[in-house]
């Protein structure tokens, strides 16, 4: 049933692509997508099988008159493993067959809509586990993307607008070491808390100072801030904010994930901080990309024409310049679909969200090949599908792309 639904969805998507971007584009993209999926899934199958090769274990298994490939079954069965159950498991999972036979068997299951089990020992359906976990990861991803875009787009537009403009002079360079020395001394006297307060006391006025007619200084400040955030690993951001908002104060409750069905307000309260963490981690990249493209497009003739027509600056920026500047941003945002699984893992752990990322790791640790292959396939489909859609959006956003493609 799921397979039929998926086929229908793919068909509808194909129709839409053909109508929007032309049949040549559609054929080319879909064929590429299918090839990529085949390579990714088969490659995953093969690599997973390679990963279990431990010669010592294989030798020990053969000495015990068990197939050398029994390792994953012993992992699955644990201390309950006996000869009979191990052999049964090997047969069920076809571990003693060539990798292409295993792949074919898996592919056949996928097309028939059977996603298999999440764990061999308990035979709990993978669809159930994904049904429980996927919404959390998806929502985390969506919220974090919204936050990242919400932070990076205004900041990027503003920074690009300020770039190259005369503005406020930064206080004399010789003052900078004095400021740093003073903050350090205060930190030495008052401890880390005092130093943190001192830094805030310096930063806030600085942002205010350059926020108003900051010119190139303001652009520089935004860039510097982006680099600072970019240089802090996501888990440090997560742990720090968790400590500050959950332990030091009681602003955030560490209650894990609360579903929207249990109350939108409670759901929001459970998701805002992890989303902020991931959003902060993503925002500097978006900001930098957007800023660069905006600066380039601000120098284009169409911008000059728009200004010459007397259009207000904000209209020029957001209506004329922002749109063609989002191409790179869209591409990266599309690539970040992979964050749905791997990028959010640490955030899921820190905030106990138990999404797809953490299940992925559990499956890797437990050497559950079939669920892993299925997960990889799903992520690959999402990845390829999203990026295909992004390519389509290019055509819609920038007619020049469509014209190039039709040549």
């Amino acid at each position: 049933m799921i397979g039929i639904v998926l086929l229908i969805l793919v068909a509808l998507l194909a129709v839409w692509i053909i109508r929007t971007a032309g049949w040549r584009f559609a054929t080319k993209r879909l064929a590429q997508a299918a090839l990529i999926l085949l390579i990714v899934t088969f490659g995953t199958t093969w690599l997973l099988r390679l990963s279990v090769v431990d010669e010592k274990i294989n030798e020990a298994l053969v000495e015990l008159d068990l197939p050398a490939e029994s390792g994953p079954c012993i992992v699955a069965l644990g201390t309950g493993a006996d000869r009979e159950s191990v052999l049964g498991c090997v047969d069920d999972l076809k571990l003693d067959r060539p990798v292409y036979v295993q792949y074919g068997s898996w592919l056949g299951s996928m097309f028939s809509g059977d996603l298999g089990f999440a764990q061999y020992r308990t035979q709990i359906p993978l669809s159930k586990v994904l049904g429980d976990r996927a919404p959390r990861s998806l929502l985390l991803f969506v919220y974090s993307q919204l936050i990242a875009l919400g932070l990076s787009v205004p900041a990027g537009v503003w920074a690009a607008y300020q770039a190259g403009k005369p503005g406020r002079r930064f206080p004399p360079t010789w003052l900078l070491p004095l400021i740093i020395a003073g903050a350090g001394a205060l930190g030495f006297v008052a401890g880390w808390s005092g130093l943190a307060i001192a830094i805030l006391a310096v930063l806030v006025p600085t942002y205010l100072f350059f926020g108003y007619k900051g010119g190139s200084g303001g652009d520089g400040l935004v860039n510097t801030s982006a680099f600072v955030i970019l240089s802090i690993p996501a888990f440090v951001i997560g742990e720090s904010l968790r400590y500050f908002f959950a332990i030091r104060s009681d602003v955030y409750d560490l209650v894990g994930y609360i579903s929207p069905t249990e109350g939108l307000w409670d759901h929001a309260r459970s998701m805002w901080l992890p989303s902020l963490v991931l959003g902060l981690a993503l925002s500097p990249v978006y900001l930098r990309l957007l800023r660069s493209d905006m600066i380039a497009n601000l120098q284009q003739d169409f911008t000059a024409v728009a200004k010459a027509k007397g259009l207000p600056n904000w209209w020029v920026l957001f209506r004329h310049v922002l749109r063609p500047s989002t191409l790179t941003l869209l591409t990266v945002a599309g690539l970040n679909i992979a964050q749905l699984v791997n990028g959010a893992i640490i955030t899921e752990f820190i905030f106990d969200l138990d999404g797809v990322g953490s299940y992925f790791l559990e499956a890797v640790a437990a050497k559950e090949f079939f669920p892993l292959q299925t997960l990889v396939a799903i992520v690959a489909i999402l990845f390829v599908g999203t990026n295909t859609l992004v390519d389509i959006f290019y055509s819609a956003v920038d007619p020049r792309v469509r014209a190039d493609d039709e040549k």
Partner: protein, 587 residues
């Protein structure tokens, strides 16, 4: 952002540990290894140590009075009885891992699973705070002289959560299902005729017949094997994913894997507390699996959970220091402790030679190990902790003496290469590097580290594809429960006697242990085993493992269970405890 980072890092060591430990803990969770004192192995997420509870049923031998919650810093004691229980409220308990399934016969039901199950299912017998087995769900529990026949009679008037009667047929069914399980079946493997040896005698009575003396059976049915589970659960075709149906003070009403397990008050619960008050006190317990140990710590610190379990050695300073200073509470641990040790493969070179094992022990400065890797734990010279049956101050285990170690190696020759296996968890690797360094510097040994994924640990142990690696086990109270780990009949094939210990004396002692319930005899026989381990150096004992079960200041009754006979049950061991009679101050 930088300011916040600085501010956070300024505000307490727990944050530092949490930050630096986050990578380890993520990796721990990644590898499924619980990072206990020095990194070990467990099939639960971040708990360290090989907790193989399945085959013999873990035994919680807590000699301490479970009602006493001692403030470790100043010795202040809290007497629950003085305060009196408050009815109502929800307790949030953090678990170190999610349970795969509640289908106990085949499940690896470790600490987290046991903690939940103890609220919804009850055992046939229970071990009291004097270490004795007494009936719990059973009215009577009788055995013949040679411990080959057991007659179990249930109490009247107990019902399952689905309203059906807990009677002899249900007990027979439950035990038969256990006997057929992959894991619990190993507890009942000596039944004369398999599950058919579990006979229904009358409406409330079942008889089991074993082919050999099985004196520890009463202890086995004081936990997993003895949990009485409703026939409706066994009949459920999808029981692997089904909610548990038992007789406990709470009913399982929700199980969202990875998110929470919710148990609600059982209004028809049969037992009262020691003062005759109805049980349970709480309306609800919410169990949240949080594999990341730093997240659990942070959640407790933030006051967003009421109870926790933690075996991560690096957190013990926090729980015993700052946590208690701020009014938090810790469950008093049992005398029975798990032991961390280096497990040798005694059936394969080089450790099939007792002289090699002895010499290596002489080459190992365990005090150095303790200082660097387990500063808050106690050095172990055997598998039994102080206060437990079988404990000895001096087991004859070789002490650090590099000169003697070198002398032996000079005499017998040094192994060409020793392979020290370790999981790829950073803490485990640190321990491995310490020993490698020690052995090569002290005795000129050539040692390599073989790193592997956590998931391969069990496989290597079961198949014997190892020479030596770090392990954690034992401390189950009754020494008979160690049978499967030490008896030679479990040393072949896919062996649970991972160390492949084949020792006639140990076999004989274990078999005698299985033929007696006399505490003096058990102690004496266990000491014999302890001395044998000391002289033969089948394992290199390192330290006992300390668990922390912290709970909030407004929570009471943790670890308390009043038995029908008027005694108290043992508080718990290795992170497991009772929440059945917990209550919270009125808010």
């Amino acid at each position: 952002m930088l300011a916040l980072v600085l501010f956070a890092s300024a505000c307490g060591s727990s944050a530092d540990e949490a930050v630096t430990g986050a990578v380890d803990e993520v990796e721990d969770v990644v590898t499924g290894d619980g990072e206990g004192d020095n990194g070990a192995m467990e099939e639960d997420a971040d708990d360290s140590g090989m907790e193989e509870d399945a085959d013999d049923g873990a035994m919680e031998e807590d000699a301490d009075d479970g009602a006493m919650e001692e403030d470790a810093d100043d010795g202040a004691m809290e007497e629950d009885a003085d305060d009196g229980p408050v009815y109502g409220g929800t307790l949030t308990a953090l678990l170190e891992a999610e349970s795969d399934t509640w289908e106990i016969p085949g499940a690896n039901c470790a600490v987290s699973c046991i903690t939940v199950m103890r609220t919804v299912a009850e055992p046939l017998t229970i071990v009291n705070d004097a270490g004795e087995v007494e009936p719990f769900l059973l009215e009577t529990y009788e055995t013949n002289d040679d411990f080959t026949e057991y007659t179990l009679t249930l109490r009247d008037g107990i019902t399952f959560h689905d309203g059906t009667a807990a009677d002899g047929a249900a007990m027979q069914r439950s035990l038969q299902e256990m006997a057929q399980g992959l894991l619990q079946g190993q507890v009942l493997v000596d039944l004369v005729d398999g599950p058919d040896s579990i006979e229904l005698v009358d409406d409330m009575t079942v008889k089991l017949t074993f082919s050999r003396p099985y004196a520890t059976f009463g202890y086995n049915i004081a936990e997993r094997t003895g949990w009485l589970i409703a026939p409706s659960y066994w009949d459920d075709p999808e029981r692997a994913a089904a909610l548990m149906v038992g007789t406990g003070p709470f009913k399982m009403v929700e199980w969202t894997r990875g998110e929470q397990t919710v148990v609600e008050k059982n209004d028809d619960y049969w037992r009262t507390d020691a003062d005759g008050n109805a049980l349970p006190y709480l309306d609800e317990i919410v169990f949240r699996p949080v594999p990341d140990v730093s997240t659990r710590l942070a959640t407790m610190e933030a006051g967003d959970a009421d109870y926790n379990m933690d075996s991560f050695g690096e957190n013990s300073a926090f729980w015993e220091g700052e946590w208690l200073d701020n009014g938090g509470r810790l469950l008093v641990p049992s005398d029975d402790r798990e032991t961390t040790y280096l497990m040798f493969n005694n059936a394969a070179p080089p450790f099939d030679d007792p002289q090699v094992r002895r010499a290596l022990a002489h080459c190992s400065d365990r005090d150095e190990y303790m200082a660097f890797r387990a500063p808050n734990d106690t050095l172990a010279n055997g598998p039994f902790a102080k206060g437990a049956l079988g404990y000895l101050d001096d087991t004859g285990f070789p002490q650090f003496d590099a000169e003697e170690g070198n002398r032996i190696f000079d005499e017998i020759g040094r192994p060409e290469l020793i392979t020290y296996g370790t999981t790829n968890v950073p803490s485990n690797l640190l321990t491995a590097e310490l020993f490698v360094d020690m052995w090569s510097k002290n005795c000129g040994l050539n040692v390599e580290i073989d790193q592997f994924d956590q998931s391969e640990l069990i496989t290597k142990a079961i198949t014997g594809a190892f020479e030596v690696f770090l392990w954690r086990n034992h401390g189950q109270g009754n020494p008979g429960l160690e049978f499967v780990w030490w008896h030679s009949r479990h040393a072949s094939g896919l062996a649970l006697n991972f160390g492949r210990i084949i020792d006639e004396d140990i076999d004989a002692s274990l078999e005698q242990i299985w033929a007696t319930t006399d505490e003096g005899e058990l102690d004496s026989l266990a000491q014999d085993i302890n001395r044998k381990f000391g002289s033969e150096v089948y394992n290199m004992w390192l330290n006992t493992t300390e668990w922390a079960n912290p709970y909030q200041p407004n929570v009471h009754g943790v670890g308390v269970l009043d038995t029908p006979s008027g005694n108290r049950a043992q508080t718990g061991v290795a992170g497991r405890s009772w929440l059945s009679q917990a209550w919270k101050d009125a808010s």
